[in-house]
Amino acid sequence: MTMSNAPPLRVENLTIAIDGASVVDGVSFSVAAGEVVALVGESGCGKSLTALALLGLLPGAARIVRGRVMLDEVDLASLPEGKMRHLRGREISIIFQEPTASLDPLATVGSQIAEAYALHHRVSRSEARTKAKEMLVAVGIPDAGRRLGQYPFELSGGMCQRIMIAIALICDPRVLVADEPTTALDVTIQAQILDLMKRLVAERGTGIVFITHDMGVVADIADRVAVMYAGRIAEVAPVDHLFARPCHPYTALLLAAVPRLDLKPKQLLATIEGKVPAAGDFNDGCRFADRCPLAGERCRVETPPLVELGRGHRTACWHADRVAALAGSAA
């Protein structure tokens, strides 16, 4: 595998349309080796569609109409399915929220992990099985030999997610896309899985695109964060910057809506008035304008570009300089 300094995954101006509405609009971000980039946002912001597009797994109605998904030197967005198959699972993998829904209930977990390896390598069954066992150990499953012969229903949700991670990483891909991988798990199990993912990233140098709606999970695992709203990236920043100094009103309000340690009990939380515009109902300007306390004339007619504020912190807001005051009053 060639390791250059360029980030292995570069998403450039990705635009996905359903029935002519751009549900993902001009999304750009990159993921370096060993880096965890969180895509965060609420239902319908386009984060999961973005994740699926990276793997060429968009549902029928959705199409990439513009932009590139560069994995090293290959544009995955324009790759025919036959070629995509060679890369999927080997160079780029995905895990989902509900591990039991992703596993075949009629096959042993051992055979499912081995299959993922054998698909991309010319190996004997026993070699693939040995590799599968190593992988089980790597994802922290005790008694790996016995577990190989078990079926998904015999394992808990947390165990099944470890199996999914084992399948996703057995070929040592450059990039792992994780779509809400801990949302269905209890908090103590979530903590185990997050720790496991952090360890694997450090050991293997895999880049992770981590999709979540949970700001706590973002704070725990991400190196950088992209906040999405109505199909666009509102703000990108290193994780510490984003939480300490949000520069988009949506980010600021979202953070203020989370109950925090320093709030008084039963103190009113910040809320965001109105609701996310439906696809096809977007105005010409900033898509957050109708709900934004800072919005003015310009916001409704002119889309704000994602502007660099320094140290990798970028925001798409005409009033970024006034967000600090908003964050202060909301909290």
């Binding site: 947390g158 903590a191 704070a219 939480f243 809506a257 009990p265």
Partner: protein, 325 residues
């Protein structure tokens, strides 16, 4: 509260299930979903009940509204015993206790207008009819931030957050003394969750009802509760006032739970020392002897496998069931 009844008084309640079926001659193992729980909730108070999947928190709240009969123990709502009560008594008591569940879609009849849904308890209890009923429904809609003209619409015409408001309006129709909220905000987006939490807090201030707030989310519980109780395998392992609990949880399970909740603060999150629990939750058909937590406990000793620790008071008022905490 002396002289007055607590809104909710639960003593030594157990709910055991013995599954039917199975192979002939082989008794099925009993599921001890709730096994000896005490709880008190005073007027206008919120008790946050925390625990992970399978700890029995939902079974306990079902027992409190009389949806499952307790195997033993006493459940009193405003002094009225509901364990073993007749249908008539249950019917009378239930107007004082209402429920809100996680998924409002499942709680609303898709073919009934929301006006009809909210009016139903008032009709069943013969509280209002005709124009007076219409007025009551409009007032309830207003209380939860919806408009009177919404009454003629159907559940699918609303967003998730609005549907949860509708369910809340229906729960308030009979002006209950106690509302059981079973994960009421877990299915909602962050910004909508904040709106619903604000609404619950505001309604409590105005109407003075008590909440039993069941949740797996400690940050939400910390925000809304006056008292906190932590359940593990059907038992309460720690109970304390909000401030005492969050200042220093004492039971090793409560500590692990707290350390596992990711805080929306990356700097604090990195500094945090996590107690990672080994292993998984044992099955409630096979609760470990002694302390139910001893199979996963980081400070386990020999006595823990032998003797079940009782909830005992600590100097700061917390009740903790642990030999070593």
């Amino acid at each position: 509260m002396t002289g007055l009844h607590q809104v909710l008084d639960v003593r030594d309640v157990a709910v055991h299930f013995t599954p039917r079926g199975g192979r002939i001659g082989r008794p099925q193992p009993t599921v001890k979903a709730v096994d000896g729980v005490d709880l008190l909730i005073g007027a206008g108070e919120t008790l946050g009940l925390v625990g992970e999947s399978g700890c029995g928190k939902s079974t306990l709240s079902n027992a409190i509204v009389g949806l499952v009969p307790p195997t033993r123990g006493s459940i009193k709502i405003r002094g009225q015993e509901i364990a073993g009560a007749t249908r008539e008594t249950l019917h009378a008591v239930r107007s004082h206790v209402q429920m809100i569940f996680q998924d409002p879609v499942l709680s609303l009849n898709p073919r009934a207008t929301i006006g009809a849904a909210i009016a139903e308890p008032l009709i069943v209890r013969r509280i209002a009819t005709g124009p007076a009923l219409k007025e009551r429904v409009a007032a309830l809609l207003a209380k939860v931030g919806l408009r009177a003209e919404h009454a003629s619409r159907y559940p699918h015409q609303f967003s998730g957050g609005q549907r949860q408001r509708i369910v809340i309006a229906r729960a308030l129709a009979l002006e209950p003394a106690l509302v059981l909220c079973d994960e009421p905000v877990s299915a909602l987006d962050v910004s909508v969750r904040a709106q619903i939490l604000n609404l619950l807090v505001d309604l409590q201030r105005r109407m003075g009802m008590s909440y039993l707030f069941v949740s797996h989310d400690l940050s939400v519980v910390r925000h809304i509760s006056d008292q906190v109780a932590v359940m593990y395998l059907g038992r309460i392992v720690e109970q304390a006032s909000r401030d005492v609990f969050f200042a220093a949880p004492k039971h090793p399970y409560a500590r692990a739970l707290m350390s596992a909740v990711p805080e929306a603060n990356p700097v604090a999150q990195r500094a945090k020392r996590r107690v990672i629990l080994s292993g998984e939750l044992p099955s409630p058909t096979n609760v470990p002897r002694g302390c139910p937590f001893h199979t996963r406990c980081p400070i386990v000793t020999e006595i823990c496998a032998r003797e079940r620790p009782l909830l005992t008071p600590r100097p700061d008022g917390a009740l903790v069931a642990c030999h070593h905490a």
